[in-house]
Every structure is written in structure tokens, then in C-alpha cells.
Amino acid sequence: MHISDGVLPISVTIGGYAASSALAAWSVRRTEAEALPKLAVMTAAFFVASLVHVPFGPTSVHLLLAGLTGALLGASAFLAIGLGLILQSLLFQFGGLTALGANALMMGLPALACGWLFQTFKGAAPTRQAVLGGVAGAAGSTLSAIALAALLATGGEDFFGVAKIALAAHVPVILIEGAVGAFTVGFLARVKPELLKPAFTRRAGAPHG
């Protein structure tokens, strides 16, 4: 799910760049030095996840991991997704460079929404966290598909038509991401619960994770 060059009108392209730069700057300011290793690992995971292809009928769709990135990184997720998308665009030719801002918005906003959802409702029980991780993973892909439809609608496409196709094509991805999110968060909740600490709030003198 990447938008290619020349699909979006110029105003949307520029607006996407402006909005995503602002969000990236905000994301950098909310990132703490202690969180950098986690951020690096999640960025690498997001970068590579797009290569995991799920066969679907005649075509294949790939994992996004926007929801899981958001759940684990909180506000820093936008930075991770932006950097991952830049490298995907440069090295894999996934999505055009001019559409980078729009692509970052398309996956970064759902990631932030999932991060907020996860951090707000996660509670303390590992099972609940795992379930919520799965919900966040699935919601990330769903929201990204809707965002894709919204962005393409600015280029003159029919919003509901594109949304229907994008959602239908991503049903397997949504299911797999839900499973991946539930498994990852469940595992982390049991093994290293510090990694699931609130990432939206600034912590003073937080211990190293």
C-alpha cells in the first residue's frame, strides 16, 4: 500500500509534505534518548515488513505493521515510519519520492491513533495487553486503507469505491497483522513489560529499558 509518483494532485503532495514534516518534528521532540534502541529495532522491522508478501488471488499484498509500530513506540512511531518509508522508497522503489509526505501521513496517522488507543486502554494484565495489541495491529492496516482511499479521493477517485477495494484487498493483511500484534505484544508483556510503558508521556529520569 504505497502511493506512486504522479497520482496525487500537486497541492495534496505539498500539503502532505508539510503536514508530515511537522508531525515528524513533533515526533522527534517527543522521542527520548533511552527509547532510541527500541525505535531503531521497530523502524527496521517496519522497513522489512513490507517485503513479507501475502498472496491474495492474482495479486499479493504486503504487511504494513503500522499499528504495531504505533502501539510500541507511541509518539515516536511517526519518525520510525517516515524513515522506514524514505528508505523503502529509495532502495525498493516502493512508492514515489514525491508522494513520500502523503505516504507518511497514510501510515503514520493510523500508527499514532493505534499508539494512543493501545496506551490508553492497555491496563496491566498481559492478556488484555495482548488482545489490545492485536486490535491495534488490525486497526493500523484498516485505518491505512481508509487513509489511502481518502488521499486518492483528492485525486478525483471515488472515495467509497477505493475504500471498498482497498479494504477488501487487505482483509488477509488485517487478519495477519492482528495475529502478529497480539503475539508480539503478548510476548513482550510477559518477557519485557518495560517496552510497553507509555510512550506518549514524557518520563523524567526513566530507567534504561
Binding site: A33, P37, A40, T43, A44
Partner: protein, 98 residues
């Protein structure tokens, strides 16, 4: 390439035989030779077009492979990510010291 050379040789042979016909000795023998040469050429033609089709298939497969990211791109990208965050961590630690 080899079969193409053979085809060329066969064509030259055919032309020689045709020339022999024009110089006019035994008509039926020349006609026989010509027909053989044509048959040979046709056979070579079939072979060459088969080879060409295989090469075209190979080119298409190569092109599909080129579209897919190579392992070095993946490893390079991960290296970029860790490198950039390493620099960020270094700068952050320097800033904390001062």
C-alpha cells in the same frame, strides 16, 4: 549463436546450389538439392525461433527478479536505520553530558 552460424552455412550452401542450377547441368538433381536446402533452412529456423523464445522467457524472468528488492538492499536499509539511530543516540548522549 552456433545454430545461427549453421543456418548461415546452410543458406550459403543453398545459394551455391541455386547458382549451379542457373549454370544449368542436370535439372532434376539441382531441384532435389534445392529442396533439401530449403528443408534444412526451415528446420534451422524452427530451432532458432525455439531458442529465441527461451531467451525471451529468461529475460522476462530476469526483469521480474530485478523488480524484487535484492538481499543487499534489505541489509543495506537495516544498516542505514541502525547507523542513523546510532548517530542520534551519540548526539543525544553528548548533549546530556554538556
Amino acid at each position: 549463436m552456433k545454430s545461427m552460424g549453421k543456418g548461415l552455412a546452410a543458406a550459403v550452401l543453398g545459394c551455391c546450389l541455386l547458382g549451379a542450377t542457373v549454370s544449368g547441368a542436370a535439372e532434376p538433381a539441382a531441384e532435389q538439392g534445392c529442396r533439401e536446402a530449403v528443408a534444412l533452412l526451415k528446420e534451422r529456423n524452427v530451432q532458432i525461433s525455439g531458442d529465441l523464445r527461451r531467451i525471451q522467457r529468461e529475460i522476462a524472468a530476469l526483469r521480474a527478479d530485478l523488480d524484487r528488492p535484492a538481499a543487499k538492499d534489505i541489509v543495506g536499509g537495516i544498516g542505514y536505520i541502525f547507523g542513523l539511530f546510532g548517530v542520534a543516540a551519540f548526539v543525544a548522549s553528548r548533549r546530556k553530558e554538556h
